[in-house]
C-alpha cells in the first residue's frame, strides 16, 4: 500500500473546479429567479439547493474526468 499524496497543485485545481461549479449553480439560481419571477431573497434562501447542485456538478465532472483519464491511459498503454 502506497501513501497517497495530494499535492498543493492538485488541491488548487480541484478547488478551482469546485468554485466554477458553485458559480454556475449560483448563476443558475439567479436565472431561475428571473425566469419564474420569484423573490430575490431566494439568492440567500435557496443557497442550500445551490450548494447541492454545485456538488452534484462537481461529482459529474469528476466522473467524466475519470472516464477521460481511463480512456487516455488505455490508449497510452496500447502505444
Amino acid at each position: 500500500m502506497k501513501d497517497i499524496v495530494i499535492t498543493v497543485r492538485r488541491q488548487k485545481k480541484e478547488l478551482r473546479i469546485l468554485l466554477i461549479c458553485f458559480a454556475f449553480s449560483f448563476l443558475l439560481n439567479i436565472a431561475a429567479i428571473i425566469i419564474y419571477k420569484t423573490s430575490w431573497a431566494e439568492i440567500i434562501t435557496q443557497i442550500g439547493y445551490v450548494i447541492i447542485i454545485a456538488l452534484a456538478l462537481y461529482v459529474l465532472i469528476a466522473i467524466i474526468r475519470l472516464i477521460v483519464y481511463l480512456i487516455s491511459r488505455f490508449f497510452k498503454k496500447r502505444k
Binding site: 436565472a31 419564474y36 419571477k37 420569484t38 431566494e42 434562501t45 445551490v50 447542485i53
Partner: protein, 442 residues
C-alpha cells in the same frame, strides 16, 4: 364511578389557554371579544378552590348521563339530585352517582334547599317551563340547547333572565372550545380577509331513533322526531353552527329561505330528515346550512370563506387563497426533469378537468386538534362541553353571571325556529322586530 384524586382537572387546559391568549394578544383586549370567558380564568378558579356547587340533573337520558360523567371529573361540583320520569334513565344515572337523591317530579326537586344549581337535559318542549320554574325557585340554571320550542318561549326565558339574579347558561359548547375561540379570534384579526360567505353542514347516517320498549313510549323516547317536542335538525344540530356563524360575522341574519323534506326515513316521523337553508345577512353575506341524516360522507363542518383564505373551524385548519409559488430553482429543475423524462403526450391538457388547487393546510392550534365526525347522538369528546359545565359550576358558587351566553343561544335558537318556519311555509322569512334583542346587530 367515583372521582379519582389523580384525575386531571377537566378545564385546566382551557384556563391556561385563555391565559396564553391574553398574553399573546395584549391582555384583556382579547377577552373583550369573548366576554363569556372573562370569569373563566385561573385566578377565579383559585378563589373557589374549596367549594362545591351542589347540582341536580333534570333529565337523565343520554345527554344527562354525558354531563354526569363530566361533572364527576370537576372538583368544584357535586351531584346531589337526579330527576327523570322514565325509570330506566333514572336508574342508569343513579348507578353513575349512587349518593344523589332521586326524584320523578321536577317541581318537588326544585323545592329542595340542598340544590344550588339545576342542569336541564330534557326534550325541547320542556326547556321553557323547566327553566322558568327553576329560576323562579331561586336555582342557578343550565339548560341544554336549543333554548326553547317556540319564539314566544324564547322571549319569555330572555325576559326572565333579565329580571333574575340567578345564573343562566345554555349548552352552546363551542363558546368554550379552544379550537373555535382561537379560530374565530384569528378570523376577527383579519387572517382570511373579509368574510364573503359561510358554509355549514352536518351529515349523519342513522335514523335518530332510540329503542322503544312499548309503543306508547314512542313520542316520549323519540321526541326528536315530532314537531310537538322538537325543532328537528335545526334545533338539534344547526343551532351550534348558526351560533358560530353569528360569532364570525358579529351580526345576525335578517332573513332565511329554505326547504325541508323527509327523503329517506319515511317511518312515521314528522320532522325533516333533509334540510337546506340560506340565511341572509344585511351586508349580503350568506350562511348556507345543509343537513341530512341518510349520508355521512361529508360529516360536519363550518367553513368561513374570506377573500384571502378559508377557515374550517371544526377541523381547526385554514388555507390561503394565494399560495406562494415554489422557489425558482425548484421550478427550473422540475421543468427540466419533465422535458427529459416525460413520455410523449398523446393529448394536450384541454381534457384535464379543472380542479381546486391543492393547498397546504395551516393549523389553528399546533399539535393534536380534536375533531369530531358529528355522528354521535350523545356528545363528542373534548368539544367544550366539559369546560362549559365547569364554568357553570363555578358561576353557581360565585353567583357571577357569564356574559352573552343567553344572548348567543337566544339568537341561534331564533334562527333555527325561523328556518323551520321558512321551510314549512315555503317562503322567505324575515327576523321579526318583536323578537329582536339588544345584543348583536343586524
Amino acid at each position: 364511578m367515583s372521582t379519582d384524586k389523580n384525575t386531571k382537572q377537566v378545564d385546566l387546559e382551557l384556563r391556561q389557554f385563555i391565559k396564553n391568549l391574553g398574553y399573546i394578544a395584549g391582555g384583556t383586549a382579547l377577552l373583550i371579544t369573548v366576554p363569556w370567558l372573562q370569569s373563566f380564568t385561573t385566578d377565579k378558579l383559585s378563589e373557589i378552590k374549596n367549594e362545591k356547587a351542589r347540582v341536580a340533573i333534570l333529565g337523565t337520558g343520554s345527554r344527562g348521563q354525558y354531563h354526569i360523567l363530566n361533572l364527576l371529573r370537576i372538583p368544584h361540583a357535586e351531584i346531589v339530585a337526579l330527576c327523570d320520569n322514565y325509570p330506566p334513565n333514572l336508574k342508569a344515572a343513579s348507578d353513575l352517582c349512587p349518593k344523589a337523591k332521586t326524584y320523578t317530579d321536577y317541581r318537588k326537586m326544585l323545592e329542595s334547599k340542598d340544590i344550588d344549581g339545576v342542569i336541564i337535559c330534557t326534550p325541547l318542549n320542556w326547556h321553557a317551563p323547566m327553566v322558568l320554574d327553576s329560576l323562579a325557585a331561586g336555582k342557578h340554571t343550565f339548560c341544554e340547547k336549543s333554548m326553547a320550542l317556540t319564539m314566544d318561549e324564547c322571549k319569555a326565558i330572555y325576559e326572565a333572565y333579565l329580571h333574575t339574579d340567578r345564573v343562566l347558561y345554555f349548552g352552546m359548547q363551542r363558546l368554550f372550545d379552544e379550537k373555535y375561540i382561537k379560530g374565530l379570534s384569528m378570523i376577527h384579526s383579519g387572517l382570511i380577509g373579509d368574510i364573503v360567505g359561510i358554509r355549514c353542514h352536518w351529515f349523519r347516517n342513522n335514523d335518530w331513533r332510540r329503542p322503544v320498549p312499548s309503543p306508547e313510549l314512542e313520542r316520549k323516547i323519540n321526541w326528536r322526531l315530532y314537531w310537538e317536542s322538537s325543532g328537528g335538525l335545526t334545533t338539534e344540530l344547526a343551532t351550534h353552527q348558526l351560533e358560530v356563524s353569528n360569532w364570525a360575522m358579529k351580526r345576525i341574519p335578517e332573513s332565511v329561505v329554505g326547504m325541508g323534506d323527509i327523503v329517506f326515513w319515511k317511518d312515521g316521523r314528522e320532522v325533516y330528515d333533509s334540510i337546506s337553508l340560506t340565511y341572509h345577512y344585511r351586508n349580503g353575506v350568506k350562511t348556507t346550512y345543509e343537513s341530512l341524516i341518510s349520508n355521512k360522507f361529508n360529516g360536519l363542518g363550518e367553513q368561513v370563506l374570506g377573500h384571502k383564505g378559508t377557515m374550517e373551524l371544526e377541523k381547526g385548519q385554514y388555507f390561503f387563497e394565494d399560495v406562494a409559488p415554489a422557489p425558482g430553482i425548484l421550478q427550473l429543475i422540475n421543468n427540466v426533469e419533465k422535458r427529459v423524462f416525460s413520455t410523449v403526450p398523446i393529448a394536450g391538457p384541454s381534457w384535464v378537468p379543472e380542479t381546486a388547487s391543492k393547498q397546504k393546510p395551516h393549523y389553528v392550534i399546533e399539535g393534536m386538534v380534536h375533531t369530531t365526525s358529528g355522528g354521535s347522538m350523545v356528545g363528542a369528546e373534548n368539544d367544550g362541553s366539559d369546560n362549559l359545565i365547569s364554568a357553570f359550576c363555578q358561576s353557581v358558587i360565585t353567583g357571577e353571571k357569564a356574559k352573552d351566553i343567553v344572548e348567543e343561544c337566544y339568537s341561534s335558537t331564533m334562527l333555527c325556529l325561523l328556518g323551520n318556519q321558512a321551510m314549512k311555509e315555503q317562503r322567505k322569512v324575515d327576523f321579526p322586530d318583536e323578537y329582536k334583542i339588544p345584543h348583536l346587530k343586524f
